[in-house]
Symmetry: C2
Subunit: 152 residues, 2 copies
């Protein structure tokens, strides 16, 4: 488990929100995988544990969790959004994605993060000055073909 229930509970309470069963289960699903699940896929796993929880609730709570800074939403070029726990014990907190355009497999990586931070900082500074932007986030993704797909 990425975080204990009581830790989550606390986090919700701090923000005047309720740590409900659907939220608990969604966080459990996200904490138990290294995959990059879509809302639908999360729903299916939630459903196995609690068939009474609806897809709408999953969507609404993913949005809530995103707003709370607990979850990040990505788009990898297939037609849906995919979600990751920001603080997970299954992945490095700061990482990026390598996407196979053949089989759609997604690999997390965190190589050269020091160099990246160096580079990003430089660009951020220049861009915020030049365009008066306050930069809060960045996305880096690599696309390519994995070994298996190249063979085929």
């Amino acid at each position: 488990m990425a975080k204990t229930n009581s830790k989550w509970q606390e986090r919700f309470r701090e923000m005047g929100m309720r740590f409900t069963e659907p939220r608990r289960v969604i966080l459990e699903v996200l904490g138990d995988t290294v995959e990059h699940l879509s809302a639908e896929e999360i729903y299916m796993r939630v459903y196995k544990k609690h068939p009474n929880i609806g897809l709408t609730t999953v969507y609404r709570n993913l949005y809530t969790l995103e707003q709370m800074g607990i979850v990040t939403k990505f788009h990898f070029g297939d037609g849906c959004h995919r979600y990751e726990l920001i603080e997970s014990n299954k992945k490095p907190d700061h990482h990026h994605h390598l996407v196979c355009t053949g089989c759609k497999r997604i690999i997390d990586y965190d190589d050269f993060m020091d160099e990246e931070i160096e580079y990003i900082k430089k660009v951020e500074k220049a861009l915020s000055r030049k365009h008066s932007f306050h930069i809060t986030d960045h996305v880096i993704q690599f696309y390519g073909i994995c070994k298996k797909c190249k063979a085929a």
Copy 2:
């Protein structure tokens, strides 16, 4: 105009494809703007010139142009894809995007491209070795709040 019609014509012919009127108009629309238009927005501009060209045709041709390496598709977090001519006389060929999460405005930038290429090359090499990936493309995007949105 980014390229002359005859240049496009040639490119299509080389690939055994036809340089039709809808294709010509779509390329004209893309070549005449610095904006990041969605399929719908492209369709609306195409419509003004040729009301008989359908939205489906726009979608199909954007896909075709993407496959031909003439156009790139992006996703900036609003619910649609946005398209850019790769070789445009209105933008640097290699650039990235700065997205305001407030007003959704998108700014092109091409600062520090040399440093970027340096960094990207290094990561690409490491990743392709480590994960047996043949990397073909990358996406770098910055998100933040522009001056106007920060004030409001």
